[in-house]
Symmetry: C2
Subunit: 316 residues, 2 copies
């Protein structure tokens, strides 16, 4: 089958499936809408962790051990910064810095985030379209017992230790959806929309909070399939499980599927998990959802596409 | 003898003697006024090559082989930047980047260049005062057959290949001398003013172009002693000799001394050179002016101080 695929992705887990989809599809058939709610300005640099994770994954530059940042990284900058009394709570690898410096400089010259992202993708040989959800700033904020925290303050500086109560996406109300992202969701040849195995609260929902994107997904005739970020009652990576507990959800694939109810048509659980109780309007599929290798990513991408194709287009 | 020493310094050669002076003197007796005419904004970062050279020298962080930048440097950033299609004509080491990022960030927060420099010095354990000549931007420009070039375009990008005709220090007319620099030159206990062995045209004269500084030096009762950057008819490092030829000067220590006539009382030539024809108002001294080790730096600093002390204060 052919037709256009739109994937929604956050950072590491989402980036892995986005990479798998890029291995499974001709590049002109894939658009990836990436969360920018994690973006922040640090030491004057515009840092876009999820865009970087997706670009590094698609360019084959991800570090295979750490799970974030660039492979073959060095850390001379951080050591020198510490010697200057600078802020060292956010780790910036020497190679990774090139992305932040180059992006920040181009933004300062007046380019939009999606334009800069497209330039970076071209330079890195990435042929699929990687699209920030918006060129306008949307910033995830986290309500904890300490009050509202900026996302990276919570996520990196405080290592997700404070219990979360609520999330807000500052700026989302007035942010404009990235035009190509919205256009991709409205393509007549749209084959499927894939919600990658990313954190629902802080990776996928910021995307859905940008005006027009949730409605475009909900109203699309193309099947919408999400992949679980929860396997065996735990998050593959990151704080999703801890957040679910703190917010009063079961830590289960089914709870993630329920969170997406009304939006998705299919949901992929891991093959090691049992099928949950049926949910109206959602078809569950089982696949090997753990991605430890490029082969795993490709296999999961193919399974997701197959699931979507089996659902087919919805009636107009 | 005690009393305050003010040194004027550009980059590498000047920084070596500034380091020697810092080894020879109690830190409270030394202020170093540094050229900022080489400063420029690159990739959105404020780069201050001479301030960095002086700070690295005084902190013992200079690279001993390359002659510029930090020791134990790595180059991962530059490789990654090249991979992103970024500008690579100006080499930025990974450790060196910490200086540029930290400085740029603090400047963006509203701090002045001298305040940021003082913070960086404290962090690096530098006790002597390192003072930019001005907190206002002064930018050296170079007239060549190609027209006016920004200094780093001429110096690094075009590797000093175009013949120079003239220099201008854009912004100098309205720049305010750094207040502590001016105050140091006007101290009643001023023991001497040392012009370090830096390029007269593009390291020392930008400092002299800042309103108030040349007059304060000229009018000081303290002896003013310059150290030759030319040894045996060649520049120890950098384009000084090439510039002198292109501008129609002899390439000699004497020509540098003549360039400073009316400003200096003493001039140090290298021990390998013969004493030049007498110049009215300038006493020539001979010393080992080549600095290949910390011992050389200290020895030259002591010789310079001794020369200045032998001249003594001028009558009021």
């Amino acid at each position: 089958m052919s037709g256009h695929i739109v994937a929604l992705s956050g950072g590491v887990g989402g980036a892995k499936l986005a990479h798998g989809l890029s291995l499974a599809l001709p590049p002109e058939e894939l658009s990836i809408i990436v969360n920018t709610g994690d973006d922040f300005t640090h030491l004057g640099l515009h840092i876009a962790p999820d865009l970087d994770s997706v670009m590094y994954a698609l360019a084959g530059l991800s570090d295979p051990i750490r799970g974030w940042g660039r492979r073959d990284e060095t850390w001379t900058f951080m050591g020198a910064l510490e010697g200057l009394g600078g802020e060292t709570w956010f780790q910036l690898g020497d190679g990774d810095l090139a992305m932040h410096v180059e992006r920040s400089w181009r933004l300062a010259q007046g380019a939009g985030l999606s334009e800069v992202t497209a330039q970076l993708c071209r330079a890195l040989g990435i042929a699929a379209r990687v699209l920030p959800m918006s060129d306008d700033p949307v910033r995830t904020r986290v309500l904890t017992a300490q009050g509202w925290l900026d996302f990276q303050e919570y996520f990196v500086h405080q290592r997700c230790i404070p219990a979360v109560r609520e999330f807000r996406f500052a700026g989302a109300e007035t942010a404009r959806a990235q035009p190509e992202a919205l256009a991709a969701l409205e393509r007549p040849d749209l084959r499927a929309i894939i919600i990658c195995p990313s954190n629902p609260f802080v990776s996928v929902e910021p995307i859905l909070a940008v005006p027009g994107l949730r409605a475009a997904i909900r109203d699309s005739r193309a099947p919408v399939v999400a992949v679980t970020p929860i396997i065996g009652g735990a998050a593959v990576k990151g704080p999703a499980a801890k957040m679910m507990t703190e917010l009063g959800f079961d830590v289960s694939a089914a709870a993630v599927a329920r969170r997406y109810a009304g939006l998705i048509d299919g949901f992929i659980i891991d093959q090691a998990d049992v099928f949950p109780e049926p949910l109206p309007g959602i078809t569950f599929f089982s696949a090997a959802a753990l991605m430890n290798s490029d082969e795993d990513r490709l296999r999961l991408a193919r399974a997701v596409l197959q699931a979507a194709d089996s659902l087919g287009a919805k009636p107009a």
